[in-house]
């Protein structure tokens, strides 16, 4: 079993695309259900949501308020799962409910354990 990181990208910028509090509650339930299923398979390693606010640092000490101005998809969170292969990890990631939203994406990468 290897560990894979599942990076979840959403549009956190466009105003009209943001969910209402009620919608968000439902989305979070879907998301939690998906995570709980992975936990029940004993394949959950860890993970968390990320605050939308952040800073991006570039060479030369240039600091900006995140990458949001340039790309529509911001990193919304990640989870780390255990899987026997990239294919299995992708299969698990396919169930991620954020994929119900147009323009959202999930990226799966094996953690190779080296810096």
């Amino acid at each position: 079993m290897d560990e894979y990181i599942v990076l979840m990208r959403l549009d956190l910028i466009t105003k009209e695309k943001q969910p209402t509090p009620d919608q968000l509650k439902v989305y979070m339930e879907y998301y939690q259900d998906w995570v709980n299923g992975i936990i029940a398979q004993d394949k959950f390693v860890g993970g968390t949501g990320l605050d939308p606010k952040g800073k991006v640092i570039r060479p030369g000490g240039v600091i900006t308020d995140g990458p949001f101005a340039e790309i529509k998809e911001s990193l919304a969170g990640f989870i780390i799962i255990r899987a026997a292969s990239l294919e299995e990890a992708v299969e698990m990631a396919k169930g991620n409910p954020i994929l119900n939203g147009e323009g959202n994406s999930v990226e799966v990468r094996r953690i190779n354990g080296q810096h």
Binding site: Q32, D33, N36, G37, I39, A40, Q41, D42, F44, M92
Partner: protein
């Protein structure tokens, strides 16, 4: 009641007390001798009472015989220590043994048993041996009964107990009550042992029904002792140190489960599925006792797995299928799994999932569990597929049947298979 009925009964309740008290005098490493003297006292009782009839107070009679034998033993050992083995640790400088009173007061009995519980849960003793020792030393079970509970033979159990006692000697485990910090640290192991004992009774494959039931109640008794009957010296500022929220949660959990003991097996010892149980056979006293301790467990800032399991067990005492019931159970399983994965919890969680989200989704969840070597996996799938895809239900139940480990399990599965076949 004559002595042939009374002695086995007394053995169950008094043997452990005699052993615990004697061990406190002799040292934990002399446990075999404590057991010999205790057994001998019962043997003497059987002979004497058979001829002369029962004494007015049989229990006190046993205590007196055991105390006298113990004093004789200590006297002999003193001579041995003084004359033959002055280099031995426990030497005659311990004081004159004539002064030693082997005391069987209720307080000393409780104190000795509590010490015993902590000593048996010492990390140097392997868990399986801890359960065996507990059954023997804390619950007064016979070797053949322990063998039956473990589905093995007497020789294996004797060997296991012998090795455990070796370990006690090697590791120099004493019956001194650990200090407050150590009590706190070791309490987890004590609770685990108690829970193992309970599960041995509740889930064990042995088909001696009364034995299994007794195991469950022994576990409850030991846990209650931790909460209520604690000797003064192990209290800190008057607080019962072992009366933790966790211990209360475990007690609640066991009471809730035990409330269904009479309903979950039928007259032939066959397993009765939860849905088919006669609620009239559920023990409402145990349910309310569980509720009492569950309330008491709701303090402090630590949510233990016993709290979560007790929460689930509480909802299982509510027979009616409400949405709240299953939503809560599912939530509790989710938290439980997050804290500590176990295949059984994953399977039960999936069952709860089916009650909340429907069978189709639950089948998907179940298939992803990767528990193909677990017979309960097929039982679950058999259940989920029933009336969704009866053919698959049948093949899964047959797979479960092939893996069944006890006659009771096989019968129960065969019944469900027959039921499905009849429908088709």
């Amino acid at each position: 009641m004559d002595s042939t009925e009374l002695i086995p009964q007394l053995f169950r309740t008094e043997y452990r007390k005699v052993v615990a008290v004697l061990c406190k005098h002799f040292g934990f490493d002399q446990i075999a001798i404590a057991e010999d003297i205790a057994s001998d006292a019962f043997l003497t009782a059987a002979e004497t009472w058979g001829q002369k009839g029962l004494p007015p107070n049989p229990t006190a009679w046993l205590y007196t015989v055991a105390a006298n034998r113990a004093k004789n033993y200590l006297k002999r050992r003193r001579v041995f220590d003084a004359k033959l083995a002055p280099q031995l640790r426990r030497s005659a400088s311990d004081g004159a043994t004539e002064d030693i009173e082997v005391e069987f007061s209720p307080q000393n009995i409780n104190d000795s048993q509590l010490r015993m519980m902590f000593a048996i849960s010492h990390p140097a003793i392997p868990p399986e041996a801890q359960v065996g020792l507990s059954l023997r030393i804390l619950c007064g079970f016979g070797i053949d009964e322990i063998a039956e509970a473990f589905l093995t033979n007497k020789e294996v159990i004797n060997k296991r107990l012998f090795r455990a006692k070796e370990k006690i000697r090697e590791a120099g485990i004493s019956l001194d009550l650990p200090g407050p910090a150590e009590i706190e640290a070791r309490l987890g192991a004590v609770l685990t042992t108690i829970y193992l004992l309970f599960n041995e009774g509740y889930y064990s494959a042995g088909d001696n029904r009364s034995l299994r039931k007794e195991l469950c109640f022994e576990a409850i008794r030991l846990c209650q002792m931790l909460i209520e009957n604690v000797p003064e010296e192990s209290k800190v500022f008057g607080e019962v140190l072992t009366n933790t929220p966790e211990a209360n949660a475990l007690l609640a959990l066991m009471c809730f489960h035990a409330s269904r003991l009479d309903a979950r097996l039928d007259a032939n010892g066959e397993i009765v599925l939860y849905e088919e149980q006669d609620v009239g056979l559920w023990n409402s006293d145990l349910v309310s006792k569980g509720g009492y301790f569950l309330n008491r467990s709701a303090s402090g800032d630590r949510l233990s797995k016993y709290h979560l399991e007790a929460g689930i067990a509480y909802w299982n005492t509510q027979k009616e299928d409400t949405e709240e019931k299953w939503t809560r159970i599912l939530q509790l399983y989710d938290i439980l799994l997050q804290r500590e994965y176990s295949p059984m919890a994953a399977l039960n969680r999936t069952y709860a999932y089916s009650k909340v989200h429907g069978k189709e989704g639950a089948i998907r969840e179940a298939l992803a569990l990767g528990l193909e070597n677990n017979r309960y996996f097929y039982v679950l799938l058999g259940d989920l597929y029933t009336s969704v895809d009866d053919e698959r239900a049948l093949s899964n139940l047959s797979a479960a049947l092939a893996l069944a480990r006890t006659p009771a399990e096989s019968t129960s599965l065969q019944k469900r298979i027959d039921g499905l076949v009849k429908q088709e």
